[in-house]
Amino acid sequence: MKPHGIFLALAGLVLATFFIQAKKPATVGRNHLMADTVIEFTPEVRSIIDQKCLGCHNPDAKNEKAKEKLQWDAIAKLSKAKQIAIMDEVLEVLEKGSMPPEKFLANRPEKKLTEDEVKLLTEWANANADRLLK
C-alpha cells in the first residue's frame, strides 16, 4: 500500500500544479487593466506610422503645426478622450485623403499612403476608438 500511497500523493501534487498554472492570468502581451484606456499599436501599423507619419509628428520636427496637433509617441500619456479624438481625426484624414499633405508629397511621392495602408489604418483606428468607448 505504501508505494501506491506515495505514488498517488505525488500524482496529486503534479495535478495540483497544473490547476495552479491554469488559474494564473496570462502576463505575456497585454495588461488587461490598461487595455481599455490606451491606444495599442500593432507591428504593421507601427511600421506605417514610422515610415509615413513620424517625420512630422514627432517632438523634433520642424513643422510646428504638425508637432502641436499630434505626436505619435506621446499618445499614451493623453487622456482617454484625447486618444479617442485622435483616432477619430485619423479616420477623418484617411477618409479625405489629406494626410500626408499634398505639399509634402510633391517632393516625396513615395510617402503617399497605399490603398492597403489606408484600409489597415482605418480598421485599426476604428477598432481602437470602439474599444476605448466601451
Partner: protein, 154 residues
C-alpha cells in the same frame, strides 16, 4: 493727371460692379434641423444662448446674414468662413455625429474657446455681442468636459 484719375476711378467702379456677378458660394440655410444640439436638449439655457450668439453664424445651418453679405468681395470672405466653419463643426448636425466624433469636437471646442482663438476676431469686430467674456469661456470649457464625461460613461 485728371484724366488718369478719372480713368482709374472708372476702372475701379467697373471692377466693383463686375465682381458682383461672380457667385459667392454662400451655403444655404436650413430651417428644419432635427439633429441640432439645442433641439436635442443636452445643453443648458446659458450654453445655448452663447452658442447661438457667438458660434451659430459659422457653425450651424442657421446663419444670420447681414446686408453686406450680399456684396463682393465681403461676401466671398463670409462664404469662406461659413463653409469652413460648417465643415469643421456644425451644431445643426450634432445629433448625426458618432460618439467618437462628438468627443473630438468637444476637445476642439474646449481648446479653441479656452485659448481665445474662437470666435474669430474678424467676426467679433463686426458682431460685438458675440465676444465672449472670461466667465463665458469658462462655462463653455466646463460644459465640454462634463459632456465628454457623460458620453464616455454612457
Amino acid at each position: 493727371m485728371k484724366r488718369i484719375g478719372k480713368f482709374l476711378a472708372a476702372a475701379v467702379l467697373v471692377i466693383m460692379i463686375g465682381i458682383q456677378f461672380i457667385p459667392s458660394n454662400i451655403p444655404e440655410n436650413k430651417t428644419d434641423n432635427p439633429d441640432d444640439i439645442i433641439e436635442s436638449g443636452v445643453v443648458s439655457e446659458e450654453v445655448a444662448i452663447i452658442l447661438k450668439t457667438s458660434c451659430y453664424d459659422c457653425h450651424s445651418n442657421q446663419t444670420k446674414l447681414p446686408w453686406y453679405s450680399k456684396i463682393a468681395p465681403v461676401s466671398w470672405l463670409i462664404a469662406k468662413d461659413m463653409n469652413e466653419g460648417r465643415e469643421e463643426l456644425n451644431f445643426s448636425e450634432w445629433g448625426n455625429y458618432p460618439k467618437r466624433r462628438l468627443i473630438k469636437k468637444l476637445e476642439g471646442i474646449s481648446e479653441e474657446v479656452g485659448e481665445e482663438e474662437m470666435p474669430l476676431p474678424i467676426y467679433t469686430i463686426m458682431h460685438g455681442e458675440a465676444k465672449l467674456s472670461a466667465d463665458q469661456r469658462k462655462l463653455i470649457v466646463e460644459w465640454t468636459k462634463n459632456e465628454t464625461n457623460r458620453i464616455l460613461e454612457n
